[in-house]
């Protein structure tokens, strides 16, 4: 299990390959990449703030929970902070398992929990100014699925 919290960009494809490489007993690898989305075509930058220390432990706790609930060979979580440009990857989750259902469900679960339980906050900067992204009720509701 690997958890990385970093300001540096990462290469999702290279991470996927290195995560999937040289595994025995694995039939399914699922990855999720979150990308800075320019909803209205006016986004200059996205700033991601986090809570150093708590971030790492909160993500590790969520990943541990996934490992306990599903038969996983491995889990990878990478999450960036700092200033990001539209189209850049914000974060990535990957799961490896013998069977596809476990890999899919665990990745979906990890995303739902990272979204609402890992201490990150997004701020969008446009020509009109900067505004914090509001949490969605739907994101909190998504946790009830698990």
């Amino acid at each position: 299990m690997a958890v990385r919290v970093q300001s540096d960009p990462f290469d999702a494809g290279a991470e996927l390959n290195s995560f999937a490489r040289d595994r025995t007993g694995v039939g399914a690898v699922v990855s999720f990449t979150g990308v800075v989305r320019d909803t209205k075509g006016d986004l200059q930058e996205m700033l991601i703030e986090h809570y150093p220390g708590m971030t790492e432990s909160a993500i590790a706790k969520i990943a541990d929970e996934a490992v306990q609930r599903w038969a996983l060979a491995d889990v990878l979580v990478i999450h960036r902070y700092g200033p990001l440009k539209p189209g850049e990857p914000i974060m990535m989750v990957a799961t490896a398992a013998a069977h596809r259902a476990a890999a899919f469900e665990a990745a979906d679960f990890l995303m739902d929990y990272l979204k609402s339980r890992a201490p990150f906050w997004k701020k969008e900067v446009t020509a009109q100014g900067a505004a914090w992204v509001a949490a969605k009720d739907a994101d909190e509701d998504a946790l009830k699925r698990w």
Partner: protein, 81 residues
Amino acid sequence: MNVVYFAWVRERIGLPEETVDTDAATVKDLIAELSAREDRYAAAFADTTALRVALDQELSDFDAPLDGVREVAFFPPMTGG
């Protein structure tokens, strides 16, 4: 006790972190104490339904006791992922 603020809570209060000398028994008591201190705190803590709290880097709630806690963090709902 170390008190830390993130996102708009940090911006509204105007600092990321401070040491608070307090005998507050619970998170609620600490909020009342800070809110009474200055308007910027009162503004930040006006609507606690829009706030989350972590005690020693673990999510907690406003009724939680502060006994033995070294770090209290206030922030809006998280928007990672």
